[in-house]
Every structure is written in structure tokens, then in C-alpha cells.
Amino acid sequence: MDLFAQYVVVGLASGSLYALVALGIVLLYRTSRVLNFAHGDLATFATFVAFTLLSAGRPFAVAALAAVVTAAALGAGLYYGILRPARESTLLGQVVITLGCALVLNGLATRLWGADTKVFPFPLSDTRVYRLGQVVVSQLSAVTAAASLLVMGALYLLVQRTRWGLAVRAVSQNMAAAQVLGIPARTLLAATWALSAALGAAAGLLLAPALLLDPFLMLDPFLKGFAAAVLGGMDSPPGAVAGGLVLGVVEALFGGYVSVRFRTTLAFGIIVAVLVLRPQGLLGREFRRRA
């Protein structure tokens, strides 16, 4: 039983970070219908910016803020500089553009910071642990999980309880109608790209202390975040959170009790199963754009 509980705790810790990544993906997808393959590399790039500042002796808060701002600027820049000029392209074309941007950002990060793995300085310890009976949770895991939930809560309030969030939802439903009503749709889209990238940066900042930092930091979390988004529903932020937590726990239990060899494959199996059985995901609604 202790072992089971330990697997669940480990799964929830991983799942909260998958959820954070998934939220960034979903937020952008439901607004622009673009699956951003550069999400992980934007986050990694921003995390490297924080690493540079921390290495130069800057306080963590300053470095983290700089990373989030950098990611937001890169996200908005990606929209204004590349995707908007290419607006004539199909959605698939835009997705391919993000894939190209991912490769460019990854190459740039490798060029600037090298391919070697780095220890990311963080105010909390990854090896100091709290014990609840036989169940162990590290200080870092506990705080990052809490921080993830906090960020998710803030995002929920922003999207569901503010006029800005209402405008974003309006644009995602019908851009032309939103524009007629005086909503600055392009600016909102750029802001959504910025916010999505900033969420990615937050995930990167929380992941790097535990997973070490290199240009491929977000490769696995991005894939898991994508699987979580599909599982929860690509247009549902609560679904993304649920999907992340469910995926984290199922993955941990599957690795513990079924097969550690196929643990990595599980996420892809879930994507296939969800797309076949319930394409809208656990909490998503089948999307129909209003005419």
C-alpha cells in the first residue's frame, strides 16, 4: 500500500507539470487552432535565459521574471513576425511553421549554451524530503506541484473571470464577429501566444531544477503535455489539468505494476485510444465553429 501511495505521489508530482505544459498548449489551440510544436523549445530557451542570469549572480526572482518576459516576447514575436505574415497558409502549414521554429530555437540554444547538461540553481532542494509514513516527497516536488496549481488557478481566473478572458473566448468562437464587436482580435491572439509561451517558461523553470537543463529539457515534458491535452480535451483548460494529473498517475502506476519498458509508450497509446474512442477528450466538447 505504501508503494502504491508512493507511485501515486510521484505521478501527481509529474502530472502537475504535465498539466502546466498542457495548459499552454490548450490555451493557444482553443484560440488559434494552431498546435504549437515550438512550445517546448520556447520554454527551454527562456529557461536558459534564467540560467544565464542566475550564473551571473542575479536573484532567482529576477531571473525567473526575465525568463517569463523573454518567453512572452518570443511567443508574441512568433505570431507577429512569422505566423501573421503567413496567415494565408492553412492550419497545417502554420503547424509546420511552428515545427520549423522549434528546430531553429533548439539549434540556437545548442549554439549559445552548448549541448552539455547543466545544474539549474534553485532556492529549493531536490534531495531534502518530507516523509508521510513510508511515502517520500521532495521539497522541490512539493513546491513545484503547488506552484503549478497556483499558476493554473491564476490562469483559470484570468480566462474565466476577466473581460480579457471573455474577449479571448469570443475570438476563439468567432473571430469575425468578435472583430465586428470591436475586440482587437490580432492583439488578443498575440497576447495569447505570449501567455502560452509564458506558461511554458514557468513549466521550464519548475522542471529544470529537478530534470537538469540542456537544450532538450522539454522534449519529453512537451510530448507528455500534448498527450495530457489530448486526453483532457484540446479546447478545455480544466481538461488539460485533469489530463496531466491522470496521465502522471497512470504512467507511474503502469511503470510500477505493469511494465517499465513500455512506460514511455503509454502516453502515445493514450493519444491513439482517446482519438479513436473520445476525440473531444475527457472534459472537452466537440468543437463546432459558429457560422
Binding site: 510521484v10 508530482a13 524530503v129 530534470l211 532538450f216 519529453d220
Partner: protein, 393 residues
């Protein structure tokens, strides 16, 4: 008449120029240059190895070239990125042979990649120095005439490490954390053989994929096995992360690791957890040998980024050194056959990094020994003299 003679003269000149090189020129060799190629993971999760290994080779070649090259020829390295993916390694090797016309392939990294290109390289008759792959993939393989290997055999290394830990430290049960490809699988095979030879048991084998980043579940599985010792066949990032996770959940078996992790960088990545780890090594590690440290100083002067990963940088030097020695011994008239004959004269030869290399007419497995080290307070301390294992091919 005069015009006819002039025409005849021109024809003779054309024939002489055209016929000359066709008779004497070797692929990839000119009077001023030798072209060699390599395929390495310069991007992707294995770039941690590929970038410094390639950087080490390039910097060392620059030192050699700046000193006048070998027999008046500069050595030019064409390095292509395969991202550690076998299909890309195949495409790269074809490009190196068919487009760049290389004289030799040097140090292609990855057991699975080497396995994927093995038949093609042999079929093309290209000289191949040091595929960075488990050496046992060559055992019993025909067509090794142009192949020369000084890289370690993971099977023998895993066996000897396990035997050492079982016999001298009294460990009876082993778990293996391994990369789920030929590199890790060969290490696992070696551990199984070592356990069988000593009456110990392998109680768990926990694989991971190269793209994995979260090892908390793997660490729990290892703890669940209750093994006295955990043997690690992983890349540095995965190795460091799983050790940290094991420490976190309070599981502290005797840690044992492949020579690929005998890297000073592990002390920073794994922190306190990388203490009292038993590892294999087959060339002197940076910080333990004057010659190796001199080489490191020289190559980092050329490429300062190599200082971030000194172990793999000098590893790169060790992979290309035997090739350079072969060029020196082959003399100014360089052909594949003269090169092979020269390599076969190498007996117990010490390079600046690699040591004790022996080749011969029936021997292509040039280094067949390891020694055991222990990580202590940020350094690796040698525990044993060289331990020999039989050449496999």
C-alpha cells in the same frame, strides 16, 4: 608537320595527366590532404556525448595540422550530425563515402548506429577506425580487414565490474538501469554474465528510453527490487537523474557504472549521490594523468567550450589517435593497403590519451583491458591494476 607534332605533344600531355592519378590516387587522399569522416549526435539528447567528442577530434587535428600535418598532408574531418538515429547515420555514411569520398570513417558514435552502417562500410571497403560501439558486435563478423577498434567492450566491462563488486564487496543481488538500445543491452548482458560467474543474481532490469527525463518511477522500481547493487548503463543525464531519485527515496545500494560515466561532470550533475560509485575506465581520466591533462589544456586552448566536458573531449582524442599513428607509420605513399599494413605493426603502443594498443594481421580488437575506479569526494581513485579480457576479433 609542325602542327601535327604540336598536336601529338598535347595529346601526350593530356594522357599523362589523365592516366597519372587514376593509377596512383587513393580515395580521399591527395598529396596535401587526407579526408576522413564521422557521424555523431551533434543534436538531440545524445549531443552531450557527440559535441565534445567531435570537438575533441577537431581540436586535436588542428594541433596536428598546425604542426605540418602527417607526411605533408593535412587531415580534414567531415563531421555530420545523425542525432543518434540509425537511419540518419546510414544516410550520413553514404554521403561521406559517395559524396565526400573519405579515406576513412573515424569514431562513429552509438552501438545501434554502428550496427546499422556496418555492412555498408565493409562492402565499400572503407577504413573504419573506432566505431564507438560495443566491441562484441564484431565478434565472429567477417570482413574486418579495414576495421580497427580500441573502444571498450560493454559486455566484458559489465562482466568484469559485476565480478569485482560481487567478489571484493560481497554483493549478491544486482539490478541494472540501462538505456534501451544496444549500448545498454550489451551492458545488461555483461552484468548477467558476471553474476552467473560469481553465483550472484540479477533481480531487476529497468530500461529507459533516450528521450525520457523523469526517472522517479524507475528509481522506485529499482528500490522495489531490493538489490544490493545497481549497475548503470546510461547517458550522463539519465545516470545522474536516476541516482538523485534513488537518494531522494532513501534507496542507497552500491552504485556501479559504465566507463561512459567516468566523467568528472557527474559530480556536478548527481551531486552528493555520486560518491562511492564503482566505475570502469580504459584510458587515464582527466585530472589523473599528466599527458592527458596536457592534451586537454592544448585542445581547450583551441576550443574553450571543451572545458565544459573534458572527459568526452579527451575521449574524442583517444578515438582518433590510433588513426594518426597509422598514417605516420604508413609513410608518404598512402593507400588503404599500406595503411592496413602499418596499423598491423602497432604493438602495445601508447598514445597521448589511449594506452596499450595492439593490432595485428589477425587482430582488430586493439584495447582489451579496463581498470576499476571509485568516485570519492569529487575525484576518481584507481582501485585495481589493468584487468585484461580476451580480444574478441
Amino acid at each position: 608537320m609542325r602542327r601535327a607534332l604540336r598536336g601529338l605533344g598535347a595529346l601526350l600531355v593530356v594522357l599523362a595527366v589523365g592516366a597519372g592519378p587514376a593509377v596512383t590516387q587513393e580515395r580521399g587522399v591527395t598529396p596535401t590532404e587526407v579526408v576522413v569522416g564521422t557521424s555523431q549526435p551533434l543534436s538531440g539528447p545524445a549531443a552531450f556525448w557527440g559535441v565534445p567528442v567531435t570537438g575533441g577530434m577537431e581540436a586535436y587535428l588542428r594541433l596536428v595540422n598546425d604542426a605540418g600535418g602527417i607526411h605533408g598532408r593535412r587531415i580534414r574531418l567531415v563531421a555530420l550530425d545523425d542525432s543518434y538515429l540509425p537511419p540518419r547515420a546510414v544516410a550520413n555514411v553514404r554521403e561521406l563515402v559517395e559524396r565526400h569520398g573519405v579515406f576513412a570513417i573515424v569514431g562513429l558514435l552509438g552501438s545501434a548506429n554502428a550496427f546499422a552502417v556496418r555492412d555498408y562500410i565493409v562492402q565499400q571497403g572503407v577504413i573504419w577506425i573506432n566505431p564507438l560501439a560495443d566491441a562484441t558486435i564484431w565478434a565472429g563478423f567477417r570482413g574486418t580487414r579495414y576495421l580497427f577498434v580500441t573502444y571498450v567492450s560493454y559486455v566484458d566491462e559489465g562482466r568484469l565490474l559485476t565480478e569485482y563488486v560481487a567478489r571484493t564487496m560481497g554483493k549478491k543481488t544486482f539490478a541494472v538501469f540501462y538505456q534501451n538500445d544496444l549500448f545498454g543491452q550489451k551492458g545488461l548482458l555483461g552484468v548477467k554474465r558476471g553474476a552467473a560467474a560469481t553465483g550472484a543474481r540479477v533481480v531487476a532490469a529497468v530500461p529507459y528510453e533516450l528521450t525520457d527525463r523523469d526517472f522517479s518511477g524507475h528509481a522506485l522500481r529499482l528500490r522495489q527490487s531490493g538489490a544490493d547493487a545497481v549497475v548503470i548503463y546510461a547517458n550522463p543525464t539519465a545516470g545522474a537523474l536516476v541516482v538523485r531519485e534513488m537518494t531522494k527515496i532513501g534507496y542507497q545500494p552500491q552504485l556501479v557504472a559504465t566507463s561512459a560515466l567516468a566523467d568528472p561532470a557527474m559530480f556536478a550533475l548527481a551531486g552528493e549521490a555520486w560518491n562511492n560509485v564503482i566505475l570502469a575506465a580504459y584510458f587515464p581520466l582527466p585530472g589523473t594523468d599528466r599527458k592527458v591533462d596536457e592534451v586537454l589544456a592544448n585542445i581547450t586552448r583551441i576550443n574553450p567550450a571543451l572545458a565544459r566536458n573534458p572527459f568526452n573531449a579527451v575521449g574524442g582524442v583517444s578515438f582518433i589517435e590510433p588513426f594518426l599513428e597509422g598514417l605516420r607509420r604508413a609513410g608518404p605513399t598512402l593507400t588503404r593497403e599500406s595503411f592496413v599494413a602499418a596499423m598491423e605493426t602497432i604493438r602495445n603502443w601508447d598514445g597521448e590519451v589511449v594506452r596499450g594498443v595492439t593490432f595485428g594481421p589477425g587482430r582488430r580488437h586493439g584495447v582489451t583491458r579496463i581498470y576499476i575506479v571509485r568516485s570519492e569526494a569529487g575525484q576518481y581513485r584507481r582501485l585495481t591494476p589493468d584487468i585484461e579480457y580476451p580480444p574478441g576479433f
